[in-house]
Amino acid sequence: MTVLAALEGMDRLSGGDVLVAQNVAFAIMAITMVASALRMVTTRNVVHAALYLVIVLAGVAGIFILLGAEFLGVTQIMVYIGAIVVLFLFGIMLTKGSFGDDDGVTGERRLMAGLVGFLVFGVMTAALVESFADAELSRSGPSTTADIADSIFSAYIVPFEAVSVLLLAALIGAIVVARKD
């Protein structure tokens, strides 16, 4: 119910009760996402990793809606959870038998990867805390789909067309690479 309360109050970002509800919703989603992401990169079962990825992606959609980007949140659910995760599950099924588990990772490799990840996080945290110490979000209300459409088909029309061509090229490329000849 807390999440719903936060979503309904989205148009009044500065209200006291709404702000508390938003922060509680953020905390719940953030903890769930970080825990799921950690499980995703450490679990030995490949299918479980895909399901943990679903939780993280749904959490990202929730964060988008919390930030007032409703269209993006729905797009995230449709494209990622609806399409990309299904692609991953197909990839897992079609390569099954070669790699049921991913338990052959040596300790040294994990240690070095953890060290690199921790260093990346440390550097980014130091930079962010120093740059945006107490910066508040200033959005007055949720962004509408009409705003995004106006923006895409006026200011960002060239990148939009480039993305269209990229998707076509990727589609044809995937078919050419994966077909049996």
Binding site: L13, F26, M33, A37, M40, V41, V46, L57, V60, I63, F64, L67, A69, F71, L72, Q76, Y80, A83, I84, L87, F88, F90, G91, I92, T95, S98, F99, D102, G104, V105, R109, R110, G114, G117, V120, F121, M124, T125, L128, F132, D134, A135, E136, L137, S138, R139, S140, S143, I148, S151, A155, Y156, V163, L166, L167, A169, A170, G173, A174, I175
Partner: protein, 99 residues
């Protein structure tokens, strides 16, 4: 809400994704970790769009989603090709080009 709470969440997810890319040997799991990184970047873009009260960040997040979809399609096709040619998707065994 503070801007930094979103940026720090994004940083945590990005670092976890970097760990996954470096530590995993399974090709499909590596692609999943890359998706995690791209989603962390998207949170950043949308958070800054809300911070500056502009729409550009959300549009670029949409572009990132489209590029991620294309990347997964091509990446999984390559993993399937690898599986068909060598019966494994263990990335540490893919060293045929090593001199």
């Amino acid at each position: 809400m503070l801007l930094n709470q979103f940026l720090l969440l994004s940083a945590v997810l990005f670092s976890i994704g970097v760990y996954g890319v470096l530590a995993r040997r399974n090709g499909v799991l590596l692609l999943m970790s890359i998706e995690l990184i791209l989603n962390a970047v998207n949170i950043n873009l949308v958070a800054f769009a809300a911070f500056t009260d502009t729409i550009g960040g959300e549009v670029f997040a949409l572009f990132v989603i489209a590029v991620a979809a294309a990347e997964v399609g091509v990446g999984l096709a390559m993993v399937l090709l690898l599986y068909r040619s060598s019966r494994t998707i263990d990335l540490t065994t893919v060293d045929r080009l090593r001199g």
